[in-house]
Symmetry: C2
Amino acid sequence: MKAYKEMTAEELTAEQQRLEKQFQEVKARGLKLDMSRGKPSKAQLELSNDMMDVLHSGIDFDDETGTDCRNYGILYGIPEAKRLMGEMSEVNADDMIIYGNSSLNVMFDSISRSYTHGVCGSIPWCKLDKVKFLCPVPGYDRHFKITEHFGIEMVNIPMTPNGPDMDLVEEYVNHDPSVKGIWCVPKYSNPQGYTYSEEVVKRFAALTPAADDFRIYWDNAYSIHHLYDEPERQDYLLEILSECKKAGHPDIVLKFISTSKVTFPGSGIAAVAASKKNLDDIGAHMTVQTIGHDKLNQLRHVRFFGDMDHMHQHMSRHAEILRPKFEMVEDTLERELGGLGIGSWTKPNGGYFISFDAMEGCAKAIVAKAAEAGVKMTGAGATYPYGKDPKDSNIRIAPSFPTLEELREATEVFVLSAKLVSVEKLLEK
Amino acid sequence: MKAYKEMTAEELTAEQQRLEKQFQEVKARGLKLDMSRGKPSKAQLELSNDMMDVLHSGIDFDDETGTDCRNYGILYGIPEAKRLMGEMSEVNADDMIIYGNSSLNVMFDSISRSYTHGVCGSIPWCKLDKVKFLCPVPGYDRHFKITEHFGIEMVNIPMTPNGPDMDLVEEYVNHDPSVKGIWCVPKYSNPQGYTYSEEVVKRFAALTPAADDFRIYWDNAYSIHHLYDEPERQDYLLEILSECKKAGHPDIVLKFISTSKVTFPGSGIAAVAASKKNLDDIGAHMTVQTIGHDKLNQLRHVRFFGDMDHMHQHMSRHAEILRPKFEMVEDTLERELGGLGIGSWTKPNGGYFISFDAMEGCAKAIVAKAAEAGVKMTGAGATYPYGKDPKDSNIRIAPSFPTLEELREATEVFVLSAKLVSVEKLLEK
């Protein structure tokens, strides 16, 4: 088919009528489908059901040092959980603190702690006139909500397939002392599925922040979440904590991981990895905040996986379920939109999302159109700070939750909505 | 035996020599016993082992409305957990939010949230010159650590067997707008085991705070933690949320509970009960902080207990284990210290502690003496804000963790230490 932009008004009007008819037919089906959030599907959840059998009344509940995991204590997590999560995060067990069920909560706490008590002895952010965060865009809405919640000014940093625009990052971080942090999803980024290149990671590690209390908030949410088993189709991310150490800046990064999309969202375990100085700072607050996190759930995870090899095998089973979904969406986008010149999209090797860029000024209308036909997408704008996509262009597609059949229908609604809105947009001109 | 204060210097010296000899013998035994924290014993933990069998791969993981507890979602907790914890807290399910594993963490978050964002729209406490909390003393050290952490000035309020000195509470709360809260353990209080009388609860509910953002932080940690099955030996606490509603002040209280000392410390579930206005305020922050707490653990608890009757039966089995320990400590104190005039102690009907008041200026020395003989007690002073017991008198005894035999030895060391230090104190004069 001809690119829409090259069509005459008459051709566009004909196309609009054809699409409108299709749309009314689809709408009449009364669909109710959800492509809005990065939720694992039922089939993925089943993969971890056996974890519920690991702890039972017939066993002992001691960790490897003999500490009873049923009782109070062990603020930083049981040793074997620190080791396993350390391997998952590619750091030493001693570089880790194991938390409760949510890495988002750990990130929230990190910002809240900096706001109330500063970072490693710095002035608490609540006492400062201005605090800024850099936000690679498009990015993760829940990161942006945290910084917005604390009144932190967010600065958009454009993403590239190799990571954030590092010239801009260096310009801000190295010269503006009000810049206290940057949100990063460095591997299979949310929503584009991009992975930071080695050069980008090295440039992060080499930052010389104007602010002592600047930290890189490195949310490695999809560290082992490949879609393909073949090594050449798996993205590789340089480990940043060791790079920062090598560069002489061991304290500038906080790494976050969790098993939310490995075992059960909401019933996984989260962790932070950082330098000893940062962990001591975090620990001084934690000791006031809690007596300890859920050690039985830590034990449950460790005994279920045994080691990192088994966790990787487990992720490969997730990939088996996710891969056809991603490929189907990509195929549908290509088949239905390829050549029309009304949108582009990413083809990630892992993670939970496909990022779609519509023609400027069309994203909100496309999402609304899809909703009209019963398909819920992530709100347009959500991938930008304050929910404001300056071009009204980016849409996050989350293929994981629906079944393949539901996803097929939802994607068809989506491409139909994209075409219809684009035609209308072009006719407006 | 004669009261020490009535002894002559010669008698005291003879007694000192006799005690010193005993002490050296005990010390030579090289004991290593811990009476420092309110930790359940191994035998108590065993009571809940079957809870680990409740969820297994052969069952479905849906809550009663069909929501899959393995996945994201349900910020306030699954309905059946809200109902069960609501019953435990004697409020409606709708007056509840279910949290993660630690009510301490919920309290920390409540203070932190008030510090960063205020209370229901009030000025954030970090923007105020002075914030004060009332602290009934002796009280719970971890409460005091939280308020100290946020630079909140703590004001001691003397406890009585009926609760805090309410004349003083009213004086402060109703007239000083910098007073933003009071820490309460209203039933089987930590460390005295006192329960607030009906009159005290009604006076709390009738408070007319000078500060709109004043709240009662009602930590009902031992709500169902009786030592005796006989109703006449169980303390009764008036339910404060409904009293506050009746008095026209539904918003002045936040109630905290958890199953930490019902099932497993660290792997229980915590909850807060409050008015809709307060829950909405809390919820607005939670929605930024987390996607949800561990719903599988909520389901596990609900399916293990079934209903409140079974939870009470479960608590009765805890009491069977705890009761002989409390009675043994009380008997030993009476037998060894009764009539000596060197200390008084409480005889609670529930909770986790016995409070001991030594002669003024003796508490630190007694705790140090016991430590010298291998018995770890809660640090003297810990039951007061800033760790400062103005009379250096109060010692918290935690009988729960050691076995009965260990506890017998530990208590003997304690009474010996108390006697020895008291004799030395009297000889100083």
